[in-house]
Assembly symmetry: C2
Homo-oligomer: 709 residues x 2
């Protein structure tokens, strides 16, 4: 813990807190902002809270006295070398030499946080924190302390004293309406595309009522009686001329219905967003696909907010299954680690674990897989080191809910989601859930190793191995060569669905023969229950890509995502059924506008294009090793970028030329070519019939001539 | 859950919340109000938080429509028969018939609470609440719910809409100073006795600084540099003429040091207190004892606040060992159940259990014993039924910290307190801790039965039995006939202390022969380490009383508590050593005014006089059965009251007459008399030499003539 400090111009102070607590506080606030026609609609799962009392600590060794400024969210007690400093000073002079500095901060309303700023001593990620400091003074006045659970602090980007965690806001910018029209005495304002933010009214005068009916569709905004969100405003005549609503909403249209006594000039909005750079890119010879990528990226940006949320109009909640896809898409678009961490922390909450994440069995399991992916894509071990205890308690909860056969089967209060699909059986032992548990146990084994818990590592490895064996023993049909869906009371049911079969492919749980069988008998078999949500389309198309069906998948994408665009989508939807028409597309949950028209899980082309067409994926943590397997899928050419920790992998590919360049890591380019390719750099080796590879070094531009199959 | 409602004039609405959450919120707020010279000094143990999101629910069957007013602390979602009501209405018309009404309330800053007030439908203790309602809407719009953990709501006395939990304040009343004097340019204000509240300044004018130095003693208030609490005020000249400080303090004296530019007429205070009736009473032929009882009652009242706290000047924290004595004293003074429940809940916190209560091993164990006493004195089973799960998890924590011999031995982070006493050994296996654990396991067995957990009951009975056997096997010295103090690495140490020996007496763990031996060889043996805190004096004197040494104990009380009065005490102290003199009485923890001069554990005469002189104690829960064993201890006469659930037991006793009357329950009067007593009612039977008894019925006045031994 001891650190020697040298003044470092590049080091800055930042607000620090108990790790995970800001995320819990912010997610509590955010998720309860869901409204339905002015009723708040909070989540159905448990809310945790920040610790209201925590102790921050650092040890320093400074070459000269340091005048340190103190900013605190909450009242505090300051101890210098275990001696209490009287008052609540705004600054303190720390003498030169070695010191231990502790701040015990109380804040019940928000969360305790501090910002400490001296020449040498600065609050930053090196500080530690505890929620029970156990420091007591004995009868003789001696300080005693043992058994204190210290953790590294949490922080984000609150890098100035004024930029307090409690005052967190997303960024905003003004947007004007694209068009307006009068409809039955109301004004219908169209912002031209799906958006999110705060309505502004300009030139406001008079007193009386004004109603705002929001719509993701024109139909919804015009249906005052049934639109999902609305605001009734009352003006007393003393308001200022420009009014900005204090609650954000998702909409493209808003119908403004004002009393005759209320006048205004125009309506605009403040677009609200998380400022992120599009670090990934994709462009190809097919303009439709390019538009699909653009709209996917916009959908992803709209749903990447305080956290990765499902949809911006309705739930505005954090769902682990939805978030898992956002993590993956993020690695090919923003590559924003804080968003992944915030979301993982908000989902997990704290102790004790009394229910599955989002109360959904599969959603607990995606959480573990998401952490594994995070480690693989970013190489970050600190997250796992810090939060391994929370991983372990959640896994203990899951393992504690296995039945006598060692399988997960829903108990009271467990929701098995899998997918929205009519007639999908979800009771008993479902193979899909066991497969996710096996993968989660593998993620736990990797994490245990990182956390230095070698006994745990062995135990999780063994559990994963046993469960996989049992999964195949019970559910793999050796005659049909497919995985069955369900067992009830010891009887395997004669049902095959796509779920476990497609996950088995990209989890690499099947051998080649099994994969081929599954591809033909399940994935490409129209008799198997169809998938209609973009949610499971994500994995279905991933499985097909993993089987080399890029050309088939591109046609599917053109149909499915292209279909939404033809229906006028400006962001991608929660669910799309090409067989439906008109207002049917807006219905869900028994409500005429229940469907979300901007749903994160609709953005999967971002992930597919990056991973399976540009073909870039890490094979060791944080892109220390990676492969590039370009696959045109029938395109004439494509080019793009996939972000990596300190840069990107850039790929151009046509039918006769490949150009690649990367910022870091050891790469392997895999080329399918009719003849041996030629390269400007390095040595190409043949690995199979029509298959070649080239080792890539960082920061070199490779140009390869080849002949596409 | 279903209830048929009839309008009931006596039934009132009250604010309701998640049980225990108000207590956690309030105790967080209260305990951090400790200051030392303007630095806040929060507790060293973990703070829990209220659940920020909870769902309240009731089911009703009403004969006519009911217009119900809704008051909420926090934004809410209202469901009527699982259908969401739009908006956040201030009232709602519930149609006649059966209905389910749910409010999901979010409040991160304070705690979610509601007050519902209709003709039939009223928020009260019959409602239920959950922190995870698990109510979800499936794809088709159907509500689904299972596995929801419901509990009865918590409430107290917030019986009007305006009287919100978040605005809880103790009562106050204005007190004037008793005298003032000028000392070195300051004014020293004396309120005549120990008190607690808010300083008021009258006739305030001018601008500048004004310092308040508080003192429980004259010496402390005059020692600006070292007094424990102070306030520095700054006035800008625009303040009103009467200033009331917003932070309360404990003091008898305050030194006011004002700039020459700041003028004022006088200083007064707002005395702050919990409004409680003295339902117990004691008066005797000895005026010193009467004064000791009065000062004890005042000390007890000062420390019975939001919760039972230790001392009013310094910690202002809730300590389980101190509170355990407050519970017992409370049964003989206020008989205020809400104060006991609030304190038990604040101490326990919530899940998970990561440390002992107050991080002290003995303090976890007193908590269980305190619940057993609460049940015995009040007969209340609801508390145990509601919070049995929290009892169980704390007990699991304790049992999980036993060593391989099955004994509690301190692990990292465990503080073994026992008592403040120089040279008291606290390491290894201490017999006192094992005895408290055995008693706690007995309390758990009784509680498990009340909670309907019969498997648990059996298990706890067995654990208690085994532990008691082992306690005696290891620590009872069969040669010396005393209990040894400690075993280290398998070696019983040659140390005898009073602690386990005195508890063994009133826990009734010793047989008669053992008790006599312990009395003579330990309790009355000056070679055994002396007890100097009123804390352990409480139990020492109880043990002596239980052995019939009332006369000896009265002399001790006259010396010890009388000694404090002779030193000028107006409330009783944290620690008193008759051998010390002058300012030495004020020192503790290495600080000149570190000692608390108003400490709850100083009030034990209240308990001793009620239980061992008036001799009243319940022998079945809630005084359904009780005994009265009057013991004059050498007094000419005494009289008093001991409160019971619906009244009191009234006792008068002189050397030749006893008068008793009770409001309820089946009583047994035990009379020690040289000759057979005579009674105006009932039949006296002899039970032993010079020992008689009389069965008592409620609400009858018994007058007995007898001849004291």
């Amino acid at each position: 813990m001891d650190k020697s400090y040298l003044p470092n111009a590049s080091s800055t102070s930042t607000w620090i807190w108990y790790p995970g607590d800001f995320e819990i506080w912010l997610s509590n606030k955010m998720q309860v902002r869901r409204t339905e026609r002015e009723a708040v609609f909070p989540p159905l799962w448990q809310y945790y809270s920040p610790y209201p009392l925590v102790t921050f600590q650092t040890e320093v060794d400074i070459p000269e006295p340091d005048e340190v400024k103190i900013y605190s969210e909450g009242s505090f007690q300051l101890l210098l070398d275990d001696i209490q400093i009287y008052g609540q000073p705004k600054s303190i002079l720390i003498p030169s030499g070695k010191h231990k500095i502790s701040f015990k901060v109380f804040n019940q309303e928000v969360l305790p946080a501090i910002y400490i700023d001296g020449k040498y001593i600065k609050s930053d990620a090196t500080w530690i924190v505890t929620n029970e400091d156990k420091l007591w003074i004995d009868e003789a006045g001696r300080a005693q302390q043992s058994g204190t659970p210290w953790l590294p602090v949490g922080s984000w980007n609150f890098d100035s004293p004024e930029h307090k965690p409690s005052e967190f806001r997303l960024a905003t910018e003004p947007w004007n309406a694209k068009s307006t029209e009068k409809v039955n005495g109301s004004e219908l304002v169209d912002f031209g595309k799906e958006t999110f933010g705060y309505i502004k009214i300009h030139g406001l005068k008079g007193k009386g009522k004004l109603a705002l009916y929001y719509g993701e569709s024109r139909e919804e905004a015009l249906d005052s009686a049934k639109c999902e969100t609305l605001d009734y405003l009352h003006f007393d005549g003393n308001q200022s001329e420009t009014y900005t609503h204090d609650k954000s909403k998702a909409f493209r249209y808003v119908q403004v219905q004002a009393d005759a006594t209320v006048l205004y000039d125009s309506i605009s909005m403040l677009y609200e967003y998380l400022p992120l750079e599009y670090r990934g890119a994709f462009k190809s010879s097919d303009d439709l696909l390019n538009e699909i990528w653009d709209v996917s990226a916009y959908t992803m940006h709209l749903t990447t907010r305080e956290f990765f949320i499902d949809g911006i109009k309705r739930d505005r909640w954090i769902w682990s299954g939805d978030a898992h896809q956002s993590y993956l898409m993020n690695y090919y678009l923003f590559y924003d680690s804080p968003s992944v961490e915030r979301t993982l922390l908000a989902l997990r909450g704290k102790e004790p674990v009394t229910a599955h994440i989002n109360i959904i069995m599969d959603y607990s399991l995606y959480w573990f897989v998401g952490i594994y992916d995070y480690y693989l894509y970013t190489g970050d071990t600190k997250f796992i080191e810090t939060f391994y205890p929370r991983m372990k308690t959640l896994m203990e909860f899951c393992l504690g809910r296995r039945n006598k056969n060692g399988f997960l089967e829903p108990l009271e209060g467990d929701w098995v989601f899998i997918d929205w699909a009519d007639g999908l059986p979800k009771t008993g032992e479902v193979s899909f859930e066991q497969m996710l548990l096996a993968r989660s146990l593998e993620a736990m084994a990797v994490s245990a190793k990182i956390a230095g818990a070698s006994e745990d590592e062995k135990q999780y490895q063994q559990l994963a191995k046993d469960l996989k064996e049992q999964l195949f023993d019970v559910f793999w049909d050796k005659n049909e060569n497919v995985m069955k869906h369900q067992r009830i009371d010891g009887e395997v049911q004669d049902i095959v669905t796509r779920y476990a079969n497609m996950f088995g492919i990209f989890f690499n749980y099947f051998d080649e023969e099994q994969k081929q069988s599954v591809k033909n008998k399940v994935l490409l078999n129209d008799d198997i229950l169809e998938i209609t949500t973009p949610y499971m389309r994500f994995y279905e198309l991933e499985a097909l890509c993993a089987m080399g069906e890029q050309e088939f998948v591109l046609d599917e994408i053109r149909d499915y995502w292209g279909g939404m665009l033809r229906e006028g989508a400006t962001s991608f939807w929660e669910k799309y059924d090409p067989k439906q028409g008109g207002k049917e597309h807006l219905e869900m949950y028994g409500r005429p506008y229940g469907k979300s028209l901007c749903h994160a899980w609709g953005s999967s082309p971002i992930y597919l294009f990056g991973k399976y067409y540009l073909g870039v994926e890490p094979t060791a943590p944080g892109y220390s090793e990676y492969v590039i397997k370009p696959n045109l899928g029938g395109l004439k050419w494509m080019e793009g970028k996939v972000p990596t920790p300190n840069g990107s992998v850039d790929v151009y590919c046509s039918t006769n030329e490949i150009k690649v360049k990367s910022s870091e890591g050891e790469g392997t380019l895999i080329i399918n070519s009719q003849s041996k390719p030629k390269t400007n750099l390095g040595t190409i080796t043949q690995v199979d019939k029509n298959k070649y590879q080239l080792a890539l070094e960082a920061n070199k531009e490779y140009q390869i001539q080849y002949k596409a199959l």
